[in-house]
Symmetry: C3
Subunit: 326 residues, 3 copies
């Protein structure tokens, strides 16, 4: 009976591993990606103002992973364009989502049931992308785990990782945010997947590829569906993250001391001379204020946005002052 | 008689196809490019403040196409530097245009008659660049029209397409404008050329290469001269563009609804959950307001600048608010 | 006696040339680089907010040269990750410098004596990097001095040259400053080194490699130590620079005329039509105001920051106006 169940799972995993992505899953990926672009603030304006920029952005959303991993491996970032079928399909979907009369397509796909299905299918494609990236890097750099993880991550979450430059195409520039400073859920899940598949490929994870594919796919799809149904943005790793963060990265100097410190330490790279004199004082101060830091243990994300805003404010302050002095 | 004329044209096209670009036409291209840089706002300051940055910018203006297509094809973007003669020539012209005593060179080349000739010759080089890019891509990616168009376009209009990063070298950063959002005339004409030469190379356009070269060159030169003499910035495709735009891209949602919509739809990529609930309302609203949109059919460009400024304003507004709340 | 001394120097240079960089000098390079990152304004906040972004920035500080030269030569920019030992070492140092309990590591390494030693050792690694880059380029592009200089420079000063994008990782964006607009001392010294080694490799400089290595290393180390001890930021080339600048680049138009001129000449690339009419007037004006320019011979750097600030101010002014008009 238990054996039977095991066999079923094995069959299922084999069936999944042999599942062709083209056309249905690819289409789902394109639809969800283009919808994600359309739901970016200001994207609709751009679609009216410059269809070409809008199309280019959509392609970056759909093929960002291939472009990014191409750049990282010094392969032509233009290669995705050679996949004519995919580009035509994505372009068709781009047109329908943005310019369909009566906005029929978007208003359909944006409804929960259909959206659930499409998002689920998109998550399935993620597994294939990550695995593809990891195996590709494995073929080029045999024993380098880091490269395999990086390429797998880039393939799977490229659209997010290059978002700064994708936004630039649309005339938007938000330097204060990027996926490394504040990872979104898909970026996180893709990173975890890249690590898992890398360990599996290098034999550190005693699992067969198709089994891991089944596990990872089920996890991502179920989790994505849960998040869409409950409407919650809480990632399932929040707990682990905060624990890891508290143990490893809650270093010496508290938030309070930071801005002041940052302004003291205006020293450019390599020529750090007068630094040396001020540093003992600084360390004293920081160790002194650690209690305060402990008292206000702001969670990373909020802390980040706060501190960064604070920094921006201070910087703006400076520039204005320097202008007034002129 | 008519046959004679045909023969003459054929001879002429052959003569043109065998015309060597080096040195005269290359020099004209460098002069016009460096002058275009010098006429950028703030360029003269940079030339005084940091000659190196100014030189690097000039090289990007002169060899931007080669650099961009190099990156797109994963070939060394530094390759143009191996063409020592070209670089030395361009550097000499850069120096004369920016630092010549009494500003003799610039004040000569900037006069209409000479400038007309130089611009005309630069347009001729465009044909060679576009054709070069298309054939290069044709050799690498046999059947991929899109890649051929992209590389031809990049080779011919690279300086414009990478302008954002060229400006960054000079300490200028204008994310709200790029050649994809608002194409300049040279970028447009180059794109058209890339499409034509791609179709010709792949045999969809029943023309011989040297005939198309003659046609395209004559068109670009004549048109450029017309624009410089009349001082009009109106591209000859304005009519076609607006027709295409009205038929294809005047989608459902009018400008009026956009900003409000953009602010409602603050959902980041991939995790688009509560979106689903609000989208039906949104589509109603948009279809409802279409009339208003019809009433004010702002032309793409103005519409763009307006809407983007509006967006910036609102965003600035937000940040300030969020700062005040802190 | 003199011969003896010569022999000693020769031995010394041979010994230096055979000095292994790994592990001690590499470690010193990583420590100084990560400390330089930590002393960037706002870096400590980022280290608390997003350890991943902080780690990535540190890697760019440590391996920026390899990444940049990789991009320039169309080799995988991810290659440095394949050097597992180096990456692990750098990551360990990154962790200790940023998150060590009681901030022990930083407070030690920041003290003058140790810092002097570390910085000196880092300067030694610079020689190896520059030479490595030059020889690598020499192997690929036999006779192209410019490429050899560029790659040697990129290898040796990559961290500084890509600082704009390294800052972007940390959510900081300062387009108005880059190493080309205002070169820092290490960038300058690296450029000089790249030129020297290029001339030596191509035989224009009648010196043996190990002799030049000794000379360059001694010069950089001594000079760096001097600058750290005296706390002066004055580069030893300030004199030569100003002379070269005054002779070559103090062109026709003075600072005073620049901003006004820049605002007149608002013409985008390639379509420079009505320019022609205004240019004679401009040249007259500029030649007229040269006296004023002579009267206030602002040094490049201040001049730059001033003029650029002025430009920013004016630009901000414009945008605000254009907003008011809306």
């Amino acid at each position: 009976m238990d054996v039977l169940w095991m066999l079923r799972v094995d069959e299922l995993s084999h069936a999944l591993a042999n599942l062709p992505m083209f056309p249905y899953f690819d289409v789902a990926h394109y639809v969800v990606s283009v919808m994600a672009l359309r739901e970016q603030p200001g994207a609709l304006e751009v679609s009216r103002v410059s269809p070409l920029a809008c199309w280019f952005s959509s392609m970056l959303f759909c093929f960002g992973g291939a472009v990014l991993s191409g750049i990282m491996l010094a392969e032509p970032p233009i290669a995705p364009l050679t996949n004519s079928t995919g580009v035509l399909l994505a372009s068709l979907i781009w047109y329908l989502v943005f310019y369909c009369p009566m906005d029929l397509v978007y208003s359909c796909t944006a409804r929960l049931p259909l959206r659930l299905v499409l998002s689920g299918m998109k998550e399935v494609t993620r597994t294939w992308k990550v695995l593809g990236g990891v195996t590709q890097a494995h073929g080029k750099y045999k024993d380098s785990l880091l490269v395999m993880i990086a390429i797998g991550w880039a393939k799977g979450a490229g659209g997010g990782l290059i978002s700064n430059f994708e936004q630039l195409v649309r005339g938007v520039w938000k330097p204060e945010t990027n996926e490394l400073l504040k990872m979104s859920y898909p970026t996180k899940i893709t990173l975890i997947g890249a690590v898992l598949f890398t360990l599996q490929q290098t034999g550190y994870l005693p699992l067969q590829t198709h089994h891991l594919m089944l596990l990872y796919t089920v996890f991502t799809v179920v989790n994505k569906t849960r998040m869409m149904l409950t409407g919650s943005n809480i990632s399932p790793f929040a707990g682990i993250e905060s624990v890891v963060y508290k143990t490893l990265f809650s270093g010496p100097s508290p938030y309070a001391a930071l801005t002041s410190e940052a302004h003291k330490a205006r020293i450019d790279t390599d020529t750090a001379t007068n630094m040396t004199s001020s540093s003992p004082a600084k360390t004293k101060e920081s160790s002194g204020k650690r209690a305060a830091g402990k008292r206000t243990p702001a969670p990373p994300v909020n802390g980040k946005s706060e501190s960064l805003k604070a920094k921006e404010k201070s910087e703006n302050g400076e520039t204005t002052n320097s202008k007034k002095t002129k």
